[in-house]
């Protein structure tokens, strides 16, 4: 437990810095857009309706979806840009709405008095209307601060470092310390920023210079703190590269390693990182990317390398539903990725992580089933990650084995093993390399008709990384190096023993003989 806490603190500067850079830039930009727009709209009613309508509609889009949508909209760019744009849009509504409401709420008598004493329109705005609307506008800014800082944890799946990295990775690796740490850190940050804005408002209203200076100072410290780790980060990494002057091939080159949001992916990303760093590369991680986000980012060279699974690519990228066998799928997928996207597949890591229909031994014995065919017509509940139920594998299995009476229960993959062990669901679509299959004594049902395609883990390189042979050469020792048993053990160490993905990757590297 204290190990996990110490681990959490070591990456805090990076995650907190990323989180603050992202949310403060988004808040500042949201204010820069919505304050002038609000001032304009407060005077022109025809503008107020549409402006509030659009901002309000953006607000109703769930945060995660808004962030994820920005990736394709920005042409497959991941990282800071899509998160920044989405969070800015998110922050616009409260400031815009409160600016309009605040200005329109100024007593017309007071506005007429401003004209009556000889103020111009802009003097009236700056000296009378804005000061009187200030408390309402500040309330809007405070709402925006809390929303944006809270929503910035959702930047992790689109590849921007944030406090969400704790939460998403922690959720997948069952590291509840990390999850709590991320939640508490982002809540504290939101409260802190909110209080700074509030004290600024009070200072402005009371014309208290000391208080204003203190709030400014606090703001500068925070912003400076947000920018500083970024500097240290870069500085530290170039030093590391300098130290390894004798290393060959990737000296000083930045390689971005991506991962999808589950344990095995985090371990593989950590493994790639240490192999690449051994060759002198500067590695940046983009952990916990959404499944399609990861692929799109690779195709546009937003990330350079990640591992994906043949069956996933077969269905999602090649849009194929047939099953010509393991080796043909790898070959055809590799050919298609290279031809259509310029993505280079280095081949299989050596293990398969398939979807397998799994039941508790007790449950399987009770129904007397050993294969999926035995579930035909049974009223069972099936737990799976939400992705599975929209994939062709599910419709294919359902048709082939007559599972029409089964009830799908989408859930986070980290919870499904416990759920089937405890009988909360009857069947799950387990990942066959998960250490919990053995630990919980789960039974994998046969797939006699071969409906579920193979899922060989493949190392994929972006077009940019593929152009230079050095990256491929560095990663080549990993091809066919990991047996299913080794991967299961590595996963088990994280999911059940509370090791970090880095520790598990170290163990794997030792087993490989690196």
């Amino acid at each position: 437990m204290s190990d996990q806490l110490a681990e959490a603190f070591t990456v805090l500067p990076q995650y907190l810095g990323g989180h603050m850079r992202l949310s403060m830039a988004a808040i500042a930009c949201a204010i820069l857009i919505s304050l002038p727009l609000g001032i304009l709209a407060a005077r022109r009613q025809w503008l107020a309706g549409p402006a509030l309508g659009i901002a309000g509609t953006l607000q109703t889009i769930p945060g995660l979806a808004l962030l994820a949508l920005m990736v394709p909209i920005l042409g497959g760019t991941i990282g800071f840009a899509p998160a920044f744009v989405a969070l800015t849009l998110y922050g616009i509504l409260p400031v815009l709405r409160n600016t309009i409401v605040g200005l329109q709420g100024v007593d017309p008598v007071v506005r007429e008095a401003a004209r009556g004493v000889g103020m111009t329109q802009s003097q009236s705005l700056i000296e009378v209307e804005l000061p009187l609307a200030l408390p309402t506008i500040v309330a809007g800014i405070r709402t925006a601060v809390v929303w944006v800082v809270g929503a910035a944890v959702l930047a992790t799946p689109v590849g921007a470092a944030s406090l969400g990295n704790y939460i998403f990775a922690g959720l997948q690796t069952r590291n509840w310390t990390a999850v709590l740490f991320g939640c508490v850190a982002s809540a504290l940050l939101a409260i802190l920023l909110d209080q700074i804005v509030r004290s600024y408002e009070i200072a402005a209203r009371r014309r208290n210079r000391v208080m204003a200076a203190l709030s400014t100072l606090a703001g500068i410290v925070l912003i400076g703190g947000a920018l500083l780790p970024g500097w240290l980060d870069t500085a530290g990494q170039s030093t590391v590269a300098g130290d390894q002057a004798e290393a060959i091939g990737l000296e000083g080159r930045v390689v971005v390693v991506g991962s999808k949001p589950f344990t095995e992916q985090f371990i593989l990303a950590a493994l790639f990182e240490r192999v690449l760093e051994a060759e002198g590369a500067i590695v940046r991680r983009r952990d916990g990317l959404g499944s399609t986000v990861a692929f799109d980012a690779l195709a546009s060279s937003g990330i350079d390398v990640y591992a994906d699974y043949s069956g996933t690519l077969w269905a999602n990228v090649l849009n194929r539903e047939d099953n010509p066998g393991r080796h043909r799928i790898i070959a055809e997928t590799s050919a298609a990725l290279l031809n259509d996207y310029g993505i280079l597949s280095l081949g299989s890591l050596g293990f398969e992580n398939a979807y397998g229909f799994a039941m508790s031994r007790e449950g399987a014995d009770r129904l007397g089933v050993t294969s999926i065919a035995g579930l035909a017509g049974e009223r069972v509940t099936i737990g799976a990650d939400s992705e599975f139920f929209v994939r062709p594998e599910w419709t294919g299995t359902r048709e082939a084995y007559g599972l029409q009476d089964a009830t799908p229960r989408p859930m986070d993959s980290t919870f499904m093993y416990g759920a089937v062990r405890d009988g909360q669901v009857d069947v799950i679509t387990a990942y066959t390399t998960d250490g919990r299959i053995a630990a919980y004594d789960l039974v994998i049902l046969d797939d006699p008709r071969g409906i579920l395609p193979p899922y060989d883990a493949m190392i994929l390189l972006s077009p940019e990384a593929a152009a230079d042979d050095a990256v491929a050469a560095a990663l080549a020792p990993l091809v066919n190096a990991i047996t299913p048993a080794m991967m299961r053990e590595a996963n088990r160490r994280v999911d059940l023993e509370g090791q970090t993905p880095e520790q598990a990757a170290d163990w794997l590297w030792g087993e490989i003989g690196g």
Binding site: A113, A114, R115, G116, V117, G118, Q123, L132
Partner: protein, 263 residues
């Protein structure tokens, strides 16, 4: 120090006509003059066009046809905000800025005219004395910490701050209770006698107009029904509507007189 008192009228309005969108005729060929030291009252019911006429003078409402001469200059030849800085404005309620202290409220127009800070500070104290409020006590007070009568005094001080030759008052005393109102009216007249500014006041209260004004314009449906001194108006009403307006204060006066004679 006192506003320029010239032989000319400070204000001359001729043939003022104002249509609102929708064809409503708010002012129809209105004429009036005000000389230095003179108080003109415009009396009428709501919708009679009295407020339109008043606000056209400092262009809070853009005048339509006709001419408005302020110190011999056509008001349309000036920037509206420059014009308003030369004309004092006291409005219904008080129209004080709630986020500014009494001194800051009073200082507004001089500040817009870029007076030196020392001159403004001296002027603020002088004005507080003029409206009979203790500068030490009131200078730094926010409007919500004053009574209605005190706020209206600050509003008058604010209107007089830049030494305007003309003051416009829109129902300036009507929101006050009768005792406060009477005190303020008296002080206002004393102030005008001393400073000799011209004033145009709009009121729906005929008794107020009779007590304060040098001349009264009675307006109905956008037209001036009669312009006369208070005594001419009472003794020679030119229109049944004027008689009707005069009936209410006369009846009140008779009722009070009757009670006084009772044993």
């Amino acid at each position: 120090m006192s506003p320029a008192a010239t032989a000319h009228d400070v204000l001359r309005v001729e043939g003022l006509t104002k249509h609102y969108p929708g064809g409503i005729l708010a002012a129809d060929n209105v004429g009036l003059t005000a000389a230095a030291g003179e108080l003109i009252a415009i009396v009428g019911e709501s919708g009679s066009g009295k407020t339109t006429t008043l606000k056209a003078i400092n262009r809070l409402i853009e005048p339509g046809a006709g001419s408005i001469l302020f110190q011999g200059r056509d008001v349309m030849s000036l920037e509206a905000h420059d014009l308003r800085r030369e004309i004092g404005w006291v409005m219904q309620g008080d129209g004080l800025f709630p986020h500014l202290t009494a001194a800051q409220n009073i200082a507004l127009t001089p500040r817009l005219l870029k007076w030196a800070p020392a001159r403004i500070a001296a002027r603020v104290d002088e004005l507080l004395e003029l409206v009979r409020l203790d500068p030490a006590d009131f200078r730094d007070r926010l409007p919500h910490l004053m009574s209605g009568g005190q706020r209206q005094r600050i509003a008058i001080a604010r209107a007089l701050a830049a030494e305007p030759p003309l003051l416009l008052l829109d129902e300036a005393f009507s929101a006050l209770d009768p005792v406060t109102r009477a005190g303020l009216q008296e002080d206002f007249i004393a102030l005008q006698n001393r400073l000799q500014f011209a004033a145009v006041m709009v009121t729906h209260d005929m008794a107020e107009a009779l007590l304060l004004a040098d001349r009264i314009l009675v307006m109905k449906d956008g037209r001036v029904v009669q312009t006369a001194t208070p005594s001419d108006l009472v003794n020679r009403p030119a229109d049944p509507y004027v008689t009707e307006l005069l009936a209410a204060p006369a009846k009140q006066a008779r009722a009070v007189a009757a009670l006084e004679q009772a044993p």
